[in-house]
Symmetry: C2
Amino acid sequence: MGVVSRPVPRVDAYEKVTGRAKFAADLYFPGMLYGKVLRSPHAHARIVKIDVSRAREVPGVHCVLTAADLPAARSWFTYLFLAEDEVRYTGDAVAMVAAEDPDAAEEALKAIEVVYEPLPGVFTIEEALEPGALQVQDYAPGNIVRNSHWPVRRGNVEEGFARSDVIIEREYRTPFIEHAYIEPEATVAVPDPVDGSVTVYGSVQNPYMTRRYVAAALGTALGKVRIIQQTLGGSFGGKEEVMGLMCGRAAVMAVKTGRPVKMVNTREESFVESAKRHPFRLRYKIGATREGRIMAFEAELVDEGGAYNSQAQFMNWRACVHSAGCYEIPNVKVDVYAVHTNNVYGGAMRGYSSPQVIFGQESLMDELAEALGMDPVELRRKNALRFGSVTITGQKLDDQPVNVLAVMERVLEEADYFNRREEYTRQREKGGPRRRGIGMAVSYRGCGLGAETADATGGLVSVQEDGSVIIRSGLTDNGQGLSTSHAQIVAEELGIPLSKVVYQRVDTSTMPDGGMTVASRGTYTGGRAMLLAARKVKEIIFRGAAELLSCRPEELASSDGLIFCSSDPSKKVSFEEAVRHCLFRGETLTQLGWVVPPELPWDRPTGQGKAFPTYMYSCVVAEVEVDTETGQVEVLRVTAGHDVGRAINPALAAGQIYGGIVMGMGMALMEEVELHKGVILNPNFDSYTIPTSLDMPEMKPLLLESEDPVGPFHAKSLGEPAMECVAAAIVNAVAHATGRRVRSLPANLEKVLLGKTLARS
Amino acid sequence: MGVVSRPVPRVDAYEKVTGRAKFAADLYFPGMLYGKVLRSPHAHARIVKIDVSRAREVPGVHCVLTAADLPAARSWFTYLFLAEDEVRYTGDAVAMVAAEDPDAAEEALKAIEVVYEPLPGVFTIEEALEPGALQVQDYAPGNIVRNSHWPVRRGNVEEGFARSDVIIEREYRTPFIEHAYIEPEATVAVPDPVDGSVTVYGSVQNPYMTRRYVAAALGTALGKVRIIQQTLGGSFGGKEEVMGLMCGRAAVMAVKTGRPVKMVNTREESFVESAKRHPFRLRYKIGATREGRIMAFEAELVDEGGAYNSQAQFMNWRACVHSAGCYEIPNVKVDVYAVHTNNVYGGAMRGYSSPQVIFGQESLMDELAEALGMDPVELRRKNALRFGSVTITGQKLDDQPVNVLAVMERVLEEADYFNRREEYTRQREKGGPRRRGIGMAVSYRGCGLGAETADATGGLVSVQEDGSVIIRSGLTDNGQGLSTSHAQIVAEELGIPLSKVVYQRVDTSTMPDGGMTVASRGTYTGGRAMLLAARKVKEIIFRGAAELLSCRPEELASSDGLIFCSSDPSKKVSFEEAVRHCLFRGETLTQLGWVVPPELPWDRPTGQGKAFPTYMYSCVVAEVEVDTETGQVEVLRVTAGHDVGRAINPALAAGQIYGGIVMGMGMALMEEVELHKGVILNPNFDSYTIPTSLDMPEMKPLLLESEDPVGPFHAKSLGEPAMECVAAAIVNAVAHATGRRVRSLPANLEKVLLGKTLARS
């Protein structure tokens, strides 16, 4: 390989380290106004009256709008642009203004008079499920989020438990977690005074989804809305709904005033309105023979969707598929569903349920091992999926490498797991306030969207006459490095230097809807589309080169910008010359590659079907030192191995792993959005703590490769798997160190010190 | 037909009539500077010294650049961004500045000191061809424009003349003509501070060609330059080289200063620098039997290329193909070539030589008829191309309708030609100062680029999930209405209302190079690419609809946004529903149509080959009244008929004909760029006269349709043919009215009054 598999610097490295990258908040347009939103102070209230007359008189104010002024839909897919008569969480907006400067906009917000009648609310999973509970949304009887229930029915769990020697039941909890991207949300909507169309620049993760919001808010055709993604300062699934709403509001005000409207959230605004990682209540019953063979698995996994839609109808499918971990279990009964509350709503966040579900399931495995008196690794070895295994959804894994054990053994070895386990166990028995522990977790994860929805996307490769190559995708570079990995794939396939490839940011008007940049599908699906496009182009260029060299196209190969005859490398022509030859003859070297999704039938009542074409495999070992007098946990060392198929760029892949480890540490030990009656108590980083550079452990990323039959150059997924085992491994290590298990995240000082599992009050 | 063949209003009508369309000069960017260029006062001089030091000190000036400061190439394809040591015409730029406002830029220009050493120059075709003449360009010995010589050799002219009963020899002349578009040239170049790339907005006719200039000026990859066409206020072939140079200069200053740079030409600047219609000296010898059968045709057609490249190496090919008009002639010898002078250079202008060549050739036909004592129509009837005829380039016309005579007879009838001819002849014999005349001309014209170069282009159709359809082309809407006709083609093919189609302006980064928007190929070639793309999309949608309706795709038809079963129209589904069904399954409804050019072999030494796949046919009848005491010619009535294959939009087609008639009138009677030693004497519309609303004749456009096998829905070309017969018909009418022939255009007062044929001194 000439370009792929090499740790080349990111194509956007220079602009980022020099501070020259343009984020949405850096954009200025002549005549630009500044938009601001007034949000509800109540988690649940009736809006009695809104009086904006004083606000409209604030100097510099160009528009003050309430729901009544919206030109078209007041909501998109339940999410409200502006609330009309009722607010259901403290992020609900009730009015918005655009003014000459941010100060005037703030002043106008203060001049808006809203009379609320506060109403009682529902604030926990338990309250939501209580018979006769107040119903948060009309369309959700019993507060169950519509379509959020996904079952798995396999074998017969009653029989399975009957044949088990050991049965344990456990409950685990995870909290609301903030994405904590470095860049708060920002957008500028620029109206076209001629036809009412709008171009929206923004820190959007999913431009096509955002376009739907904007078109709905304006009541206009999708073709008349253009979303251009700006450099993104992180998203992790977060810049979805909140950006759709923000862009929709900015667009409405832009069209209303005929001027560009910029909106930039403060960190507090971002915290209050944006979707969060869903809290989960994870209840399990698991049974095994005394030899450690798991016979039955039963789970009720309930997540909190919050006030609005929350994506649980999609996300919970993934939770059900991965609910039992990477194990072969004959009898399974799983029910996943979500409930509405008057808290902030849940949304996509790196892993899309897997970090929560794997935390529960891999904690459970350690607890089961303990109950069996068995080494936790040994228990996993006995039950892990192997080539030819059948998953809990009935999928036989006989068409791809199945590397649960290969990855696990490699990571255990690299981490010197067994020696350290023994050593720390010995130390623990000696007592003393500082105790060390080592723990592990293992997972498998379906690549791409699987049977959730059609995993289709496009890649465009356009070779210019000077041999430079424009590439465009419908998927976004959210900071994960898609622009670099896609450029590498195209450069590799065409045999040209990476510097020849020019990545152009996503613009919805120039590429077909490529779906969402989610589910770690950027390389696996998006890279495949790029490779298909590059192959189409290459075929034409090789045909042209073959004419110039008087040979057959099949004899040709290319590298470093030269196309040559494999059998006689002295017969060669430059890439540029072959390109010019083709273009002169009127051929086009612009080709769209399109990934057609495979057929993946799914039986919803039983949760049986082929969930994903391909799976990737991960194992994380964590070592911690716990101060038993304070409850402080220091993560010493994390070894993380992933079967990624192939790392298109090993440096970027390692970066994903580093980031995943740190994000997992935050989830394990610190992060929790604290709420009181729906009000977020810690809406900034002074009170919402995330790991800092001082918390960094020693990190060992291991990239394991295998011959995946689907991904481009065998590449699979990594973005989300990089974090999904981390919290479980750390909590397992804490349990090893202290002998006490924390079953509710985060494992903060109080819980580690007191050993209590505190549910949110 | 539901949408095609209907005179729907232009899609850009509203924005244009309300003044909301954004032309390049309407664009503003924060921090924008204003660029200006200093041009030579001499047609030929050596640059002894340029001192810009005082200019750099003018307040508000950000850069003052000479050739020495250019970062890369100083020229593109001979055209100079800035002259270094020698100027060769008065449009040559020697320095450029960018400043905070236009006044500061002007002041800086005045502060630049240039010392020239004036040199003698070459200013006419005759001077250029004189043995030992000063050589204008090093690479053009004998002042012959490189590669501009195109011969035709067919049969044996000596034998042909020997078998002729009547032989005449004539010389005609045409002058430099200005495009006279309503909008002078304008651009804004916006630099990307990060990677040195530039986005250029401008009144460009050919964005991909302009991109070549900009990339060359910057020394950067094509993929790093993005050209976005703004609404164009006319071009007619004019906004090519001059825009390339302007955009290149603006881009260099933008990168140099790190700020957007706007350049807008005044009308005088536009006149002085921009390319002009080539003057031609047309020398003929033609022989016929006394029955009027043309036996031999010999022509030497020399055009003036001016100081730089002038496109003559391409244009003269078209001149040679069409040199003998739409007649079958067994013996032909033609030589076309161009010469350099120190005048402004020639470039593309509506017709690309045909208005000049047809003026000469159709004047010649009338003169031959006179010499034969034969009616001019009768002479044409005897010699016109018919089905199965062989053209002078040896192409047998047996694969398409050949409608010279059909068009001619229809136009003559509509114009009541014979009655009026007789009536005016009678009136003329009665004497008196005001005399009427009627004249005609007929032509055929190859559609598209033919064997000149590969006639390839692309069209993109992208169906959105709400059923709106984005279309993009690599060809531009220059005011001719391409955005409307392409939208109609797509709406027709998909069976949806026109309002669903959203045309997006050309952006070089979003579409493959579609070649130039020239040669009346917008509909004929560009429309075909759109149709191909729409067909690809339709095939997928029909497959989806067939599933929904449980029928076979072949049974389906669509109109008005509904897809229905032809045999049972009650089985129907909306276009939108079928679209959503396809997208949900992961299909893409974004398709590129690409027109692959046909093989058209050409033997250059003999000028024999298949010149074009398809021809269109035109006939114009003009009636004039001449005041023989002043020389004033009033055009009373013009009847213009064209076999267009099919008019996609009859209103737009009629618009082309109206415009073509008026432009032809200007050429016939008024327009001439007057030069003295290379200096343009009439560089604005106070002295360069063009027809105004007061000059309008009664105009009758006739659209004749035929079954062309190539064009989309049979559509052929019209933009250029609409003007190519007009000058000849008017001058023939003047000759009929006065009995005196004007052989040098324009037929202005002096020439009509004095009957002299004045060559430019």
